[in-house]
């Protein structure tokens, strides 16, 4: 072989090697990019893969559903000791509880809290002040009987409302089979087989606040459901009911969620529960207490939950009280701390750290 031909062949071999190296480099860099993205995502947070499994005994039997709470059970909600709210608040403030409720230590909320007065005014939006009913600031609840977070959070809501007034009745309920199937309270007896409907109202009275509850009804045996027309559905149903308070409330909810275009980020609706406590919008559940360390709420009966709330000694009960404290702080800030519960140091502490 001539030296010239030899040189030419070795050049071809070198070029091929180079091409192979380039191909391999491309492949490795592409794979490294994907693996790097995966590694960053995995390193950034926990991997949680456990789905909620419904309890075979309590939920699916719908035991006691729509039954009113007994007098003794109502007492737990209406007359919860201030000391429980104080102790829970202190535990939260001094970080002695590994809380999944309220705010995390760094001040980042587990739920989005928005002050109405911070919402930008637009030509079509004048609802930047809290609405009042009978001269009292309104607490507005929008939820669904099928919703697991609503089910869990009604316990905290009821505890909070119990510090400003009284429920003459509450009812045993459940979230839907497809959404946790956990024991909860219903504000009223609900039709849990209806394909789609709304229940307005409750049996609550207070001299400080007016409580407006809007509950979406759907089959309890299905999963989480909201009406496909969204918030508009509630407005239409309120108009059909001809109840001026609920017409006003649903108009208000739509009003504060009507930002579009560049102002879209000011909308606060991100699912249910969606509540307004006086001057504050709570874009989610304040308490996310699903376990007491031994068992989950799905494995508890209504009486089990009430026993723990009546004598709190575990993380589930304390977190419900912490969730309640956050609702109380919103009302206290709205009514200038005029209710006795507002004088608790823990409530004032939460008002301070929570930016109320």
């Amino acid at each position: 072989m001539s030296p010239k031909k030899e040189r030419s062949e070795s050049a071809i071999v070198a070029t091929k090697r180079l091409e192979r190296a380039v191909r391999m480099l491309r492949l490795v860099s592409f794979a490294a990019l994907l693996i790097g993205i995966a590694a960053i995502i995995l390193a950034a947070g926990p991997i949680v893969a456990s789905a909620v499994s419904p309890h075979p005994q309590f939920g699916h039997s719908l035991a006691q559903i729509n039954q009113p709470l007994t007098t003794a059970q109502l007492e737990v909600i209406n007359n919860a000791s201030d000391s429980y709210f104080e102790k829970a608040g202190e535990m939260y403030l001094n970080h002695s509880i590994n809380s999944m409720s309220g705010y995390v230590a760094a001040g980042v909320p587990y739920f989005p809290l928005t002050k109405l007065s911070k919402l930008p005014s637009t030509s079509s939006l004048v609802h930047t002040r809290p609405i009042t009913v009978n001269g009292k600031p309104a607490v507005i609840y929008l939820g669904a009987i099928s919703c697991i977070y609503c089910g869990e959070n009604r316990w905290a809501m009821a505890l909070a409302l119990g510090r400003f007034g009284n429920f003459s009745s509450l009812y045993n309920g459940y979230s839907s089979f497809g959404d946790g199937d956990l024991p909860t309270l219903y504000w009223q007896q609900n039709n849990y087989t209806i394909p789609s409907g709304v229940k307005f109202g409750n049996n609550y009275t207070s001299k400080y606040v007016s409580f407006l509850s809007i509950e979406y009804l759907s089959p309890i045996t299905a999963g989480f459901q909201l009406p496909s027309s969204g918030l508009t559905f509630f407005q239409q149903q309120a108009q059909a009911s001809a109840n001026p308070d609920y017409i006003n409330a649903t108009n208000f909810l739509i009003g504060i969620n009507s930002y579009s275009g560049s102002q879209s980020s000011n909308n606060t609706f991100s699912g249910t529960p969606y509540t307004i406590w006086g001057k504050y919008i709570y874009g989610g559940a304040t308490a996310s207490a699903f376990s007491n360390g031994t068992t989950t709420i799905m494995n508890m009966t209504h009486q089990d939950v009430l026993n723990q709330l009546g004598k709190p000694d575990n993380v589930f009960a304390w977190e419900e009280y912490i969730g309640a404290d956050f609702y109380i702080a919103g009302v206290c800030s709205t009514i200038n701390n005029t209710a006795p519960i507002c004088s608790l140091p823990a409530i004032q502490g939460i008002e301070a750290v929570g930016g109320f």
């Binding site: 491309r26 794979a31 995966a38 999944m100 977070y149 959404d179 969204g230 980020s265 699912g271 559940a285």
Partner: protein, 170 residues
């Protein structure tokens, strides 16, 4: 060539099987991570049947393996990286959808970024809740369809020799 024949031929390579397995596991964890973003308080609720999550992770992993193999063989890089990116997108969408529950901070944040108002977002949340499983199936079908399309192109210019996919000689 029938669809199964393409897949059977593709998976004769041990390298391909290993790549797919690695990505299937990685995707499964990534889906779970995205789902957990919907539960800032740490309690994760997954309302999608687990089998759909497994199938989505697997179908997305197959798609990206085809993409990687095509790049290795120096077929059209841009097109193959696009299908690879699509597998990541379907996986992320699956994670967002599977985590949809009564509280959906991730989905609503994305929708508000698209300049929608709260009324529209509440409707979308309701629709996603109603059709969650169907949307999941659609994502899986999309991955399978793209895989078939990519494989048909791959085997247009490649063949299997001694358990490896190699480019046909021209």
């Amino acid at each position: 060539m029938p669809i199964l024949a393409y897949f059977r031929a593709f998976f004769t390579s041990k390298w391909v099987i290993a790549t797919t397995a690695v990505f299937a596991i990685a995707y499964y964890f990534m889906i779970n991570y995205v789902i957990s973003l919907n539960a800032p308080a740490g309690f994760v609720i997954i309302t999608t049947p687990p089998i759909l999550i497994y199938l989505l992770a697997l179908s997305a992993a197959v798609l990206i393996s085809i993409s990687i193999e095509s790049i290795r063989l120096s077929l059209s890089r841009i097109r193959n990286e696009s299908t690879g990116a699509l597998s990541v997108l379907t996986m992320l969408a699956g994670g967002v959808i599977a985590g949809c529950n009564c509280e959906v901070p991730v989905l609503s944040s994305i929708l508000y970024l698209l300049a929608l108002n709260g009324t529209a977002v509440s409707s979308i949340i309701a629709i996603v809740g109603d059709y969650q499983n169907y949307i999941f199936v659609l994502l899986i079908v999309l991955n399978v369809a793209l895989s078939y399309y990519s494989l048909s192109r791959l085997f247009g210019s490649c063949s299997i020799q001694k358990g490896r996919i190699v480019r046909k000689k021209r």
